[in-house]
């Protein structure tokens, strides 16, 4: 009945290299499933390269056009080389979130280490791009134009801290949303079971109420799964724009 039980990493195939445990776990299984599904959609869907697309090809094209449009509008035209990365990021998170909605499936985006790794990668990539593109000028990013010089001692640390906290907010937002949603679903579902096991038939009858709430919550969680994938990739686009344009 532990609502956090669902977040346990369970090794399926043990694999220990040196002092690190790299076992193939339920999380890795979910990831491989997600990669397979995305690649199947994109490669199998586009296999005919039809001028007039079928259903699957339409879906693949809509995803691509949606993300290419998102990058173009939020990161600028210069950001075209980042389309494959943002596309991969969005699809990986979206499918990871959605696959977690399937009962007994593992939601790998509910682990802070996974979301933090993605966020820190985005952060490092963006910072590197900014440094390579603008060199030393990159540090003017922390001191916006038109600000009186005496504000610098306050403003520069604030800007710097806010810049450093980007990967934290990015990763915690996704992880917390996924974990909270799944915990809540489990709590309500567990409540029905406990009512039933302690009160019998009466308990199960009363337990219909949490089921109804879960019914609504699952719809809400599917929405959250999509929105969080969108937010993550949208913020990545905005960070890419900052790196390319420095305000």
């Amino acid at each position: 009945m532990d609502p956090l039980h669902q977040f346990h990493i369970k090794p399926i195939i043990s694999l220990v290299i040196g002092k690190y445990d790299l076992s193939f776990s339920n999380s890795a299984l979910s990831m491989i499933l997600v990669v397979t599904l995305i690649y199947a959609l994109m490669a199998y869907g586009m296999r005919n390269r039809s001028m007039v697309p079928g259903r699957l090809q339409s879906a693949a094209e809509i995803f691509y056009e949606f993300l290419a449009g998102m990058v173009r509008e939020n990161a600028g035209h210069d950001a075209k080389p980042f389309v494959p990365f943002v596309f991969t990021l969005f699809m990986f998170i979206l499918f990871g979130n959605l696959i977690g909605m399937v009962p007994w499936a593992f939601t790998f985006t509910s682990h802070i280490i996974v979301t933090f790794a993605l966020a820190i990668f985005v952060f490092l990539m963006v910072t590197l791009v900014a440094l390579v593109k603008h060199g030393f000028k990159f540090f003017t990013f922390f001191m916006p134009h038109g600000v009186p010089i005496w504000l610098a001692p306050i403003l520069i640390p604030i800007e710097f801290i806010s810049y450093l906290s980007r990967p934290i907010s990015l990763s915690v937002r996704l992880f917390a949303n996924m974990m909270a949603g799944h915990t809540m679903l489990k709590v309500f579902a567990g409540f029905t079971i406990m009512l039933g096991s302690s009160l019998g038939a009466m308990g199960y009858a009363a337990g219909m109420l949490p089921v109804l709430i879960n019914f609504a919550l699952i719809g809400f969680e599917i929405l959250v799964a999509c929105i969080q994938a969108y937010v993550f990739s949208l913020l990545t686009c905005l960070y890419i724009r900052d790196a390319l344009e420095l305000h």
Binding site: M1, D2, P3, L4, H5, F7, H8, I9, P11, L15, Y20, D21, L22, S23, F24, S25, S27, A28, M31, I32, V34, V35, I38, Y39, M42, A43, M46, R49, S50, M51, P53, Q57, A60, E61, Y64, V83, P84, F85, F87, T88, M91, F92, F108, S110, H111, I112, I113, V114, A117, L118, M179, M184, V187, F188, G190, F191, M194, L209, P210, I213
Partner: protein, 209 residues
């Protein structure tokens, strides 16, 4: 309590929402309590997310999966999508320009047809006017001819009438002369010579006329 301060119009909804929220809260709290009393039987004790022992495997598989997916999409799937989209875009713009061309052509053809029609119309108008004019002239000429003929015929008829009239008059004179001679012979028993009678009749007829 907050419901009372809210507007009376939406008070019903607020009360309903409050009741629902209360039910949800009761459920959540009781479930939480129940789970707490269940007492972490699985021995996890806290969030599995904070267990550093599971982090290397997650990182390893994340990097492997994400990297593979990125490479697959970057190298094979996305170029294909882009190729199809570009092909479609160029096909659509080609079709649009072709349609524009065809529309121009049809407009030109339409203008030519219009021009030919105009020409034909003005020609027809000319022919019509000319024909009407010619017809009028011919009619006029024929009318003149008719009038001449009619007047000639009328003159001839008049001549004939005059001749007949003259003939009839002379006949009448002769008959009257004979009649007068006969009447005088029978009634008066006088035999007059024809010259006298003729002169008398002529005088009488001239007086009558």
């Amino acid at each position: 309590m907050e419901n009372k301060t809210a507007g009376s119009g939406c008070g019903g909804w607020l009360r309903l929402a409050g009741a629902l929220a209360t039910v949800v809260m009761v459920l959540v709290v009781s479930a939480g309590l129940a789970l707490a009393s269940d007492g972490g039987g699985h021995g996890g004790g806290g969030m599995p997310q904070l267990n550093p022992a599971t982090m290397p495997t997650q990182l390893f598989w994340l990097i492997a999966c994400f990297g593979t997916l990125y490479f697959l999409l970057f190298a094979t799937a996305l170029p294909r999508v882009e190729e199809v989209l570009n092909a479609r875009d160029s096909r659509i713009s080609f079709d649009i320009s072709k349609a524009d061309e065809l529309r121009n052509d049809s407009n030109l053809a339409l203008a030519a047809v219009e021009r030919v029609l105009d020409q034909a119309r003005s020609e027809a108008h000319d022919v019509l006017a000319k024909t009407a004019h010619e017809g009028h002239a011919a009619m006029q000429a024929r009318m003149v001819r008719f009038e001449l003929e009619i007047s000639r015929k009328a003159k001839e008829a008049e001549k004939r009438i005059n001749a007949t009239k003259a003939a009839a008059l002379s006949q009448l004179e002769l008959t009257a002369t004979d009649l007068a001679a006969e009447v005088t012979r029978r009634l008066a028993g006088i035999e007059l010579d024809s010259a006298t009678v003729t002169g008398a009749v002529k005088t009488a007829m001239r007086e009558r006329n």
